[in-house]
Symmetry: D2
Subunit: 341 residues, 4 copies
């Protein structure tokens, strides 16, 4: 028998009713099913190896209902740092203020929706007027901050989280992150309703401070070279994935010995053959030194709204001890410059 033939594919039984049982059964299958199980395994290894875990979050994950799961990840420290699109953070703020995203249909008549001022995100609806209220909340919050210095997006988002902890109606990503001292970065902050709100302030002369997007780059590199090792989790691609990937390059160019991320998990509906960074493999990233040549890694080709709940629930069930016993990296995030404790 060939050395290649060592472990038979062994299909799951349909009595694997409990969740982690099912996911473990998937580990005996193939294709993306096996990658679900492998994803749980990679993440659990990150937790047990006490590396710094960075999560990149792209795609309309908050409107899609992934918010409580991200909150869980933050509160239980299955992640140590979040890099997100502005949209996800705006939508998080929107829900923390007690407003909603609504179930809809991707087949809806968009002209009719427009007449009712209902915005569509595939099969999710939202009230445009409600969105405008959230715009104004953010604009007013920013206008109330000291205007004499620039803010990293991390510091700004921390302060916004604190504000929401005081005045909001629901717990969310930013509120949980502020309480848990988990830094949140938004590399393309201008490219979102947060950016729009700030632009409205600017033309009204209400708010003139700068976002220090370069200090953000400095800080995220420090997260890498001031801690022992790193693991990365990408939900979608976009700026969050590239931004976390580039931390290894930045740290290296700053003169630090870097090894590349030690663990890597990505959930994507993109594909490598188009050449973009969003869909590229971790093997490709190894040529750049962004991912360690010895990394434990998995690419899971799936819609995150299916697999993220599955993976996180399975971790919650089967990795309870690993989560509790984890030595978490500690940061001071309530100041102009992040400090790795």
């Amino acid at each position: 028998m060939s050395k290649y033939l060592h472990t038979p594919v062994d299909p799951p039984k349909v009595t694997d009713y409990n969740l982690s049982g099912l996911v473990q059964a998937m580990g005996k299958t193939a294709f993306q099913g096996r990658n679900v199980a492998k994803s749980v395994e990679v993440w659990q290894n990150m937790l047990e190896d006490n590396v710094t875990i960075l999560l990149g979050l792209a795609g309309a994950m908050v409107p899609a209902g992934m918010r409580r799961i991200i909150v869980y990840l933050i509160e239980n420290r299955l992640i140590d740092c979040l890099v997100a699109t502005g949209a996800n953070l705006f939508h998080d703020c929107h829900e923390s203020l007690g407003r909603y995203h609504w179930q809809g249909s991707h087949l809806a008549d968009d002209t009719a929706l427009r007449e009712e001022m209902v915005d569509r995100i595939y099969d999710v609806f939202a009230s445009d007027l409600d969105f405008q209220q959230t715009d104004h909340f953010i604009a007013d919050f920013a206008a109330g901050l000291p205007q004499d210095k620039p803010y990293t997006t991390r510091h700004f988002l921390y302060l916004l989280g604190q504000e929401l902890n005081k005045t909001g109606k629901e717990n969310g990503i930013l509120t949980a992150a502020a309480r848990a001292n988990v830094p949140v970065y938004c590399p393309a902050v201008g490219d979102s309703s947060i950016g729009i709100a700030m632009a409205l302030n600017r033309v009204k002369g209400k708010c003139n401070f700068q976002f220090d997007v370069i200090q953000d780059v400095v800080e995220t590199a420090q997260l890498i070279y001031k801690t022992n090792a790193s693991g990365v989790i990408y939900v979608g691609g976009g700026t969050p994935k590239n931004y976390i990937q580039q931390t290894e390059v930045t740290a290296y160019l700053m003169g630090h010995e870097t090894q590349g991320h030690k663990y890597a998990l990505q959930i994507t509906a993109d594909a490598p053959q188009w050449g973009g960074l969003s869909g590229c493999t971790f093997e490709e990233a190894q040529s750049w030194g962004k991912i360690s040549a010895k990394a434990m890694k998995v690419s899971l080709f799936a819609d995150a709204t299916i697999v993220l709940p599955l993976i996180v629930n399975a971790l919650a069930e089967q990795a309870e001890e690993s989560i509790k016993n984890r030595t978490k990296p500690q940061f001071k995030i309530d100041q102009a410059v992040l400090e790795v404790v």
Copy 2:
């Protein structure tokens, strides 16, 4: 508030440890996550409405480890008829004979595999020599059948299932279907190792019977017009999907009143924008009358190796009563011509 805004997106909690709890929680989310829950709902409705349920199975689902799930569907009559690619049935036979598919890596060196006579199916390996043994088993089985008449693929596969029930080592799709009187069709039987085995027989003068692929078409149309209503489930596209879709057209052209399939669920990694039948929407199928204008339907864009175990496990958990109480259509499949009892 707009009439469009009636049900808020309400993210799942990470304490939804039991499986159907998680899937129900997904029903409150969006994108493909919600479609997982919708898929369970559509299937459960099929079961409770006592329609005839046809499953189209394409893609390397048996090598990927979905075999026991298909067996479960047959034995518990969550489906009433199976239309499959020849490959899936060959691979099922292979495993029933006690041979394996093996876990491998999609990054393996294919030249090295070739030297070891190991065949790769993405991240699944198989022994080429073992496959040849299964080829010969099928060839010998066919050569042993009466040669004086044509066989529908349904009758041939029933007899093969019976043979495997006698001489095989493992229960599988064909064995379960033969015992449960679930007809199995293979529209492209020549396009598979079954076809290869038959061609080997043919050149050796061992086996000269014809596959009556037209009687197959007649029978599958009868499944529709001789029962009350139908529900369809497609795992992948290819010939199985089109073949089941066309039953409505055939029945209509045979002079029967048809309404289109009443329930429709498809799990696919394909997409509509390429224009192919495999990825097309059920809305498109409504223009043809293949799917009822009032059908309950859902398209789930996902790798079936992730969602099929999830959906079927959730059904097993939450639809136990519906499964038990179902009035199942009854067929006589152990004869040259199928009979709807």
Copy 3:
């Protein structure tokens, strides 16, 4: 400088107005653009090496308007054998009878279309009543054939092509193939309107002959081992791709020395990560011996309606001499058993 850095990416100029100039310029780029140029190169090499060229055709390519291009390939012998889905051959027959497919919109209201008996194929419309007339044409043609023997799909389609040459209104795939002695196979003939037409005949007792789908398998294997070497071109996946791929396995199991296809080009909108044969790489096929370890090969991830016209037009322009001077394999296709001359 690293040995890996040998040929710079050298972007095309926007003065490459002529077609083969543009395609050659694409050869200096990357991603799928480069694969367009590579596809032309692989195909041209097939032509110059005088191998037997087999084209697999799946997806609704005739409704999409690719018919004249396939006709060109047959008449000018850029291919030597065609394996197609039944749908493409039915639609070809439909157009040869002077009927049409019509431009439409993928956003059309399918319920409204149904009321007008208009069938939709993504953004193509067709008259359902016209389709029924073509069904009846095929049924009547088949009923008029001698009924005392089985027909390979190749022989049946040759005879249908001859009939259309006599009574049709337009030149098409089947008419051209019949005149050019290019064999056409349809492995899943039951899975199409051809199969439906035959089933209608069957229930009316009008036509009882069998399709000899196993002799088809025998013949397509002979195409491989009775000629020097082979090149394969796949437009889409489905049965045509697998069927042509399996010829190497069949020929080997029949006792012939086979090397795997020597040239391989596929145009697909599918992807490898789902594990199916339709989207799998030619590297995977090398593990099976279906594709030669030394094959010249390219996978072009694109909608064929964009790249097929581009590639074929570029070949017509730049490979004129190669096309003319080619030594074409010769077949006798107007008899029950194919003969390689």
Copy 4:
């Protein structure tokens, strides 16, 4: 005959050798082929209607060899504003300095590449050491600018283009844009090697200015409400697409009457069913008012490295007069605040 059946699909002839002839022939076909022709039509209408044309550029388009095409678009004013990922602009700078991207293979051994310090982008290679030189060039350039004020990315990129016009070796995107007064924005400037270069400067105390990413948002909104109407072209999704889409929302919230973009063309390998902004339809965008309810629009699902050269070459050939006679919007981009002339 149904009203739906008005224009037959009329397949292209393989004698449509000239480029615009081929593209016009594609207009008679279906699926994405027709969308190629439609894309040319939409773009040509933008040119003839004298709207302000904004191009969003995402994905590794410069490494893939699309640079000269973008330069052509700028120099001949087929576009009036560019929004790009930082990576594309960094890679443009790299090539303007006389350095290269190299043809490679997506199957290369990434560990071997790493040892040679060769970075892989799918099937493109680059020298990591060369990249570092470009990093230092950008860092030094930035350190030489007046440090007492923030810079919009538009102003910074203009100055960088001017510098490259003086000291570079090749014409490129930034050099052409600087000469042609075409504003270039980079919403996620920190998320790229430009951001890395600035972070290196920052930790060395060499360069402390801020990027005024909010003024960028203000300016891009002005591009919309200070001109008559707008047309948008998206190559890929990511920040460039969302950023240009949001200009309509920002302008509206600033108190201006907006109608949504009047023309819209997107080239994408993404798909709507994942719910992300990158793959979403223009119909969805109409619910938000980002795209006019009456917009002329097309979504082309294809790899841009295939279709962008095709579309732009066809425009250059068939729209020569429209390009020449176009009334172009005029901007002053060589100052801290953009001016619409």
